[in-house]
Subunit: 244 residues, 4 copies
Amino acid sequence: MDLNADLGEGFGHWNLGDDDALLTVVTSANVACGFHAGDAGIMRQVCAAAAARKVVIGAQVGYRDLAGFGRRRIDYELGQLCDELIYQVGALQALATAEGTTVRYLKPHGALYHQADQAPAIVEAAEVVKLPIYCAPESVLATASGDAGVPVIFEGFADRAYRADGTLLPRGKPGAVIGDTEEVVARALLLAVDQRVIALDGTVVPHNVDSICLHGDTPGAVTLARSVRAALEGAGVPLRAAVA
Amino acid sequence: MDLNADLGEGFGHWNLGDDDALLTVVTSANVACGFHAGDAGIMRQVCAAAAARKVVIGAQVGYRDLAGFGRRRIDYELGQLCDELIYQVGALQALATAEGTTVRYLKPHGALYHQADQAPAIVEAAEVVKLPIYCAPESVLATASGDAGVPVIFEGFADRAYRADGTLLPRGKPGAVIGDTEEVVARALLLAVDQRVIALDGTVVPHNVDSICLHGDTPGAVTLARSVRAALEGAGVPLRAAVA
Amino acid sequence: MDLNADLGEGFGHWNLGDDDALLTVVTSANVACGFHAGDAGIMRQVCAAAAARKVVIGAQVGYRDLAGFGRRRIDYELGQLCDELIYQVGALQALATAEGTTVRYLKPHGALYHQADQAPAIVEAAEVVKLPIYCAPESVLATASGDAGVPVIFEGFADRAYRADGTLLPRGKPGAVIGDTEEVVARALLLAVDQRVIALDGTVVPHNVDSICLHGDTPGAVTLARSVRAALEGAGVPLRAAVA
Amino acid sequence: MDLNADLGEGFGHWNLGDDDALLTVVTSANVACGFHAGDAGIMRQVCAAAAARKVVIGAQVGYRDLAGFGRRRIDYELGQLCDELIYQVGALQALATAEGTTVRYLKPHGALYHQADQAPAIVEAAEVVKLPIYCAPESVLATASGDAGVPVIFEGFADRAYRADGTLLPRGKPGAVIGDTEEVVARALLLAVDQRVIALDGTVVPHNVDSICLHGDTPGAVTLARSVRAALEGAGVPLRAAVA
């Protein structure tokens, strides 16, 4: 099982999350590329730290919207969106090269992750940069990637509520984010060992994922991420990056 | 002799210059990379058009300052500046690759071009991305590049006034920009054929350059650029990109 | 009849439209406030020029999206949107005061103009800044303004196609923008004299407006705007700002 | 004695400092205006909270440089800088009005605070918006304000090292920032009670200030600010806003 998390989400003078702590937990680091968060200096630092820990890096690409942190949909013209995603990946790649590592995947951030009609722009960008995409099983993005022959890494969320159809309850809905450590750890084990998730209505849904997405933007989140890793290790789940 | 010009300097809804016309004149296109001008869509279009015309492209890197068009000095911390330059080159490289071409050089834009104390950041970025730098002979940037073993392309300006020490009269000083077509053409020929420039005080200064920088941000500028090219061709000066 | 147009839509080094020419045509100037276009220097210049010509100014408020020129919907949280509109009006007001004039109305720009679900944020901002809103008759924004007791100025478009229900055909649809001078002038006269518009299907639709919106972002547009003004004057239509 | 601090210095998703805690300590709040930090939503929140606590607000104006937090000099054209400062004050004023309060002063932020050659732009902006300026005694800004008849509020820093000429040791120099609580409190008392500061070389320098600037961007800073206030209250120093 792969563990991934968003890193490098500060900007200029502003910090967000504890990148160093997360790098001791994850096997894959989604590095923000400067459009919704991150800047060149932060990106390079994360690349250096990830390289030192042999953590694989990917491009966490997003809307051009620092003020909205990429979390609100923007009605992009698809060609423009595709070009901006390629731009972000290239920028990260150059900084990764400077630190002796390489961008291995692409993961859309925030609202972009969920916009079915914008999935073609992500897939086209992935084809251009020749990288696989992290996405949710059952998602339009997964289908579009498959149709285009773009490899995908399926990821699940131990701290997010699912609906019975295997899709996420949108952030913002009551109960969408699960904060209780024991529950999150239990859900991570269920995902990693049994490839299942328990939906809001109690249904046990098969959920075959290659990676579990963790969060680290609060002190509590880092502790939680550590607990998940420890539990998976304790259960004998081998942890390694999804992209070899 | 190489002819270079700045291209792709619009932003979003705003246009600047006539890129298509300039691409019929120059042998090397300095593509703005989104920090002082340009955006991902424009960058990709310029790469495509340049590739179609077999014009070599370079990264026209600048300060993060759309509001100031990169023309006013910013007191950057050098490491941050270097990282931003690498970021810009990488972004352009990814879009160039998408259009079947490659970034072949780096040219600092605007105020950055002239800041002696920031030259080390440019040189360090060039070392990381393994590209030569366009710069003025006699400049601190030229010296710093030489010291680091970074290849340089020397460029001269047919439409700018020079001082007797071979340096440019700063933009903004009276007489700094020469608008008369005949005079600019004569100066271009002097540069290309005799490797000389006539300084403000009348001194004839040896000026050994590989490239002449043209401008295209006004309709008149494009006409002027065409006249320079025609004159050089008429004089039998072979025109080809400085970076093979 | 009032004639209004968008002014001050350049940014930094980039120009857009011919503000000086438009100020000889319009009675009300919608000044871009720096979020989708415009900057403090441009805003102040437009205020000064408008004041000199006794043209009334209003705040042309938009999304925080220079890259998209405010023309693509952004899924704002309404409170944040409202605050940003207030911010923009205040900024313009301070610069207007510096030039001896005053912001007299608020006009939403681009995509914001048309988003029914975001109309409450515009109305709330207008209540806070105590200004009337320019909007289309039959629009959700008009209704929401009316419900809140916020005064409105109804505007029509002589160069845009209408549907039989009195609403605009969206920009981007074929035929949405009318370029023929004679036709635009005829439609302006029909609007100003008869308070009617001819819809796409030939229906003559009553359209009671206080203002006609003109455009000036191309040389042709300015000529067209001049023709409209001349025709209205020729027909004896009194031209004066909608907000006294 | 007035106590002032910078507030509202987050941006979008990013937080900085503990505004609520600082509002229990200061008598004047310098509200960031969106150019180097802050956004419309944050500005309005700070205005509301300050109004509720009867803390006076001022406009903390800065360079257009979110990436640099306004801390690095930008070579502005002075007219453009002046216009941007007016823009910022107006934006804050509109949001302050929405919350029943008023902008009472202007305080330049970061590098702008210290640029002697840019002082005229600050003074001109202050004249336009008719507000007094917070500045350091012995500063060029103080002199320029005085020459123009713009009222000033002199402020001192209990946590910053001074030189024997009464000027601050620049941030970044060793020892420039004093972290020890006891020392800072002692220096605050010396400033408030005796109007003196002890310079780096031990000289006791008269320093007649109306306000002490506190910081709150770290948890320790807030504790320190509280200690300063408590010490001043303990010493019977009346605490009230400098602008009545």
